[in-house]
Structure formats: structure tokens, C-alpha cells
């Protein structure tokens, strides 16, 4: 539909395999840079489609507020190690649609790293948080049209355990491994499992308790002011 978007997609279909080919040919630890480059290229279509939609002031403000809420939710320290960030991102995805969910997640990850510290994990965090928001936007309305509390909680838990957590662990895998092998991957993912379980539990619990109240508030604002209405169909 959009010329810029079309050109970008075309460029990526050439660029992605090229990066992969070049990365697999180079010896040594190039796979770390290759993986990061692939990840960044993978995020470009999301960002570009957001840009090319020419978002209105209300869309921009809502996404910024939800990203900031997701980061600030970390300071509602109820239990040590409790991270409800992803819960807010998923709510954003469900209420505003997959694309806005991705942007919310990615911006939340990037912005929170400006407050803590940037590191080799930044692009991976952006991708995993973004994917969480995106998947929530795609799957929840189709799988659970009723959006009951336990359904949201279940989705949050499973999504963290199968997508968000493993993508974060992949960042560890690429940074610490001496070569890409099955045993390395198994070790890293096994070591990450307790953290992912705890993370998933925290997100599920937050969605169970606060999911419906937040959703109804967002829904009300969306219906009242018509924010991001094009995005949802």
C-alpha cells in the first residue's frame, strides 16, 4: 500500500539472507554480531509501519503513557524480583492492537535501559518485549474473546515462558557461548527456566488481578476518544 514500506520489505528480503550468509562465512565470534544485526533488521518493519501510518497526537501520547506505565510498574515493589512490566505491555497489545503493542514493548525496554544501563541485551529486550505485546494483540482477541481474568493470566504465563523468556535467554546464549552448540543452548535455557517461571508467574498474577480493570479503562478511553481505531481491525 505504501511505497516506502514496500521498498523496505524488498530491501529486508535481500538484507536478511545476506546478513545470515555473511555471518555464517566469517569465523570466530561473528555470530554474536550477526544475530544482533538480524534482530535489528527484524524490528525495522514494525517501526517503519508505525512511522508510515503517520500517528496522530493521541496515538503517540497513549503509547508513550503505556510504555512509561510499564516501566514505572516495576517500582510497585510488592515482592522482590517481581516484574509486572510485561503485563502492562500485553494489556497495551490487547487494547490497542498488535502493532501498537510491539511499539509499546520495544519503547518500554529501550527507555528503561536508559534509566538502568544499556548493554548487549538491549536489542534482545526490545525484541522480546515487543513480541510479547504483538502476540497479545494477535492471539488474545482470537483465542479468548471473553478476556476473562484467568484467561489473560494463562496467556501471560505461557507467553513469557515460551516467547519472551527464551528470546531474552537467547541474548545470554549469544553473548556467553564459545560456539553455538546444542549443549550450550540447553544449559542456557535450563539456567533461565527458574527466572522465566518466576517472571511468568509475576506477569500472570498481575494480569489476573489488574488485567480486567486496566483493559476496561483503556477500552473506555479508546471508545470515547477514538484512539488508534484504525489499528484494531
Amino acid at each position: 500500500m505504501n511505497r516506502k514500506l514496500f521498498l523496505c520489505t524488498l530491501a529486508l528480503t535481500v538484507l536478511l539472507p545476506l546478513t545470515l550468509l555473511l555471518g555464517s562465512r566469517l569465523p570466530g565470534r561473528w555470530y554474536y554480531l550477526t544475530a544482533t544485526a538480524l534482530l535489528l533488521e527484524g524490528m525495522v518493519p514494525f517501526f517503519l509501519s508505525f512511522e508510515s501510518r503517520r500517528p496522530q497526537a493521541r496515538d503517540i501520547c497513549t503509547i508513550a503513557v503505556l510504555s512509561a506505565l510499564a516501566v514505572a510498574a516495576r517500582t510497585v515493589v510488592v515482592i522482590p524480583g517481581y516484574r509486572p512490566t510485561m503485563a502492562v505491555v500485553m494489556i497495551a497489545g490487547i487494547a490497542l492492537g498488535p502493532e501498537s503493542g510491539f511499539i509499546t514493548g520495544a519503547v518500554a525496554a529501550l527507555a528503561s535501559n536508559f534509566f538502568y544501563s544499556q548493554g548487549p541485551w538491549t536489542p534482545w529486550q526490545m525484541m522480546s518485549y515487543g513480541l510479547g505485546g504483538f502476540l497479545a494483540g494477535v492471539l488474545v482477541p482470537r483465542l479468548f474473546p471473553g478476556k476473562r481474568s484467568w484467561e489473560l493470566a494463562l496467556f501471560g504465563f505461557v507467553c513469557i515462558l515460551t516467547v519472551v523468556g527464551p528470546v531474552l535467554d537467547a541474548s545470554t546464549l549469544f553473548t556467553v557461548s564459545s560456539r553455538l552448540s546444542l549443549s550450550y543452548a540447553a544449559a542456557v535455557f535450563a539456567a533461565g527456566l527458574p527466572f522465566n517461571l518466576r517472571h511468568g508467574f509475576a506477569v500472570g498474577l498481575t494480569l489476573w488481578l489488574a488485567g480486567r480493570p486496566l483493559l476496561s479503562r483503556l477500552e473506555r478511553i479508546r471508545r470515547k476518544y477514538g484512539i488508534l481505531s484504525r489499528d484494531n481491525n
Binding site: 569465523p27 570466530g28 565470534r29 561473528w30 554474536y32 554480531l33 517501526f47 508505525f50 512511522e51 503517520r54 500517528p55 496522530q56 497526537a57 493521541r58 503517540i60 501520547c61 497513549t62 508513550a64 503513557v65 510504555s67 512509561a68 506505565l69 516501566v71 514505572a72 510498574a73 517500582t75 510497585v76 510488592v78 515482592i79 509486572p84 519503547v107 518500554a108 529501550l110 527507555a111 528503561s112 535501559n113 536508559f114 534509566f115 544501563s117 544499556q118 548493554g119 548487549p120 553473548t175 556467553v176 557461548s177 564459545s178 560456539r179 552448540s181 549443549s183 550450550y184 544449559a187 498474577l205 498481575t206 488481578l209 489488574a210 480493570p213 486496566l214 479503562r217 483503556l218 478511553i221
Partner: protein
Amino acid sequence: MERDVFSRCHPLTGFVYFFCAICFCAVVRHPMYLAAGFLAGLFYFLLLHGEAGMKKLPGMVPFLLVVAALNPVLNPRGETVLFTLFGRPYTLEALVYGVVLAGMLGTMLVWFGCFSTVLTGEKIVYLFAPIAPALSLVLVMTMRLIPSFQRKLARLAGARRCIGFGLEEQTRWRGKLRCGAALLASLTDWALEGSIITADAMRARGYGTGKRTHYRAYRLSARDGMLLGLTLGLSTAAVTFGGMQAEFLPSVSMERPGWGLAVYCLLLALPVLAWGKEELQWRWCIRRI
């Protein structure tokens, strides 16, 4: 901070420099290069952070030790067997490689620490605003809202404490979680209302009606040109001189570093050298008064 040349430069200069430095640190495995990169990064990190930086560093040591010790467990190749663990050989070469890996990781973390301090959020936004105006705006608004929300959360928690619903008074997890959820919900209400007001103000002032311009806080100066030229020139020279190949498995072998190492050291010590030059110049100026 104030004396750091890259902090005062155009964001592009800093971004290109850190991009080159971190890419080298992520890829080069030669121990001598690694040591040079780590020392240069550490020195820069301490210059930037001072006393506080000293306290941040020990936290990453246990993690690095685990990475170093773990490599031989998962990677059984190598010629010199030290002992067998779980029926698999634990080799010296793999251990050496593990130490190198941990060193690379430590180097990257130190350099990323410098990156975070030098290229702050507003500089990154400034850099990407012409390419992605809407996204940069979202990012900059998010970064402004986070501290504001944290303050609001503290106020909300205080208000709830006054009516006997404080987080601290809840002894059971259930109560704590309910309390947290209530805080989050009321913050959301307040924040969404605020967002509509902001959006209406933006629209009233004509957001989206024309091309978005932005204030040019930085200009590319001759110094930026020189630093950019040095960064790119030294990077290219380091790659062409080579001598940074090293293999660890199955046996340790590495190239003899020649001029490449000198160029590499110069590249990574660039911020520290620039800092020293400024410092000397300043001292010299003061003495002349």
C-alpha cells in the same frame, strides 16, 4: 564528565565511535587485543564515573567467573585434559577460551557502561529524530513520563497509607498484590487522562499539520570531523593490518600482533587520550595567567 570530549561532541561522533569500539570488543578474541580493549575501557569507565564506578565493577565478577568455568563443561574439545567431569574431559584449552570469553564479556559491559553515560537518551533521540520522528517523540515522552509516574506512585501509596491501605501494612501476599493492583489501576486512570490532555494540547498547537522540525542542539564541527576521521581511519587500519586472529580449540594458537595492535590500542584509547589532551591544555592555560 565535563572534560570528556565525546560527551560534548555531536552525538553522531560518539555513536560511530562506540559502534566501532563495541563491535571490535565483541569479535576480537586475541588475548593481547582483549587486554588492551579491557584496560582502555576500564580507564575510560573510571574517568567517567569516578568513585561510584569503582563500586559498580565488582558486581559482574561472579558472573564472569561462572562464564569462564562453564565453557569447558559444555565444550569438551581441547588437547590437554585437566580432569574428567560427568564423564567428559575438562580441558585446559577450553578453560583458556572460557577466560577469554569472560574477558570479552567484561570488556563489552565496561564499554556499554561508558556508552550509556556518554550517549544519553536525549542524544540518541536527537540522532534518530530525522529518521523516525514519531518513534523518537514516543521515546522522549516515555522517558519524561517515567520519573513523573514514579513520583505519582509514591504520592498514591502515601494517600492509601493514610486510609489504612498501605503496602507496608499488608502482611499477606494476597493483600500486597491487591494493593499493588489498585495502585497500578489508579495510576493508569490518572495517566490516561493526562495523555488525552497532552494530545489535545499537541493538536491545538498543530502537531501533524506540517513537517516536524527540531532544535539543532549540536552541530558537526571541525573537531567532530577530526574525531570521525580518526575513528574510521584507525578502524580500517586495524582491520587491514590484521594480526588479531586467535584459535583456542582444539589447541591454542594466535597470530603475532604487529602494527595492528598499536593501531587498535590507539583507537580504543582515543577518548582517554583526548581527555588527557584537554586536561593538559587546561593546565597550560591556567599556568599562563
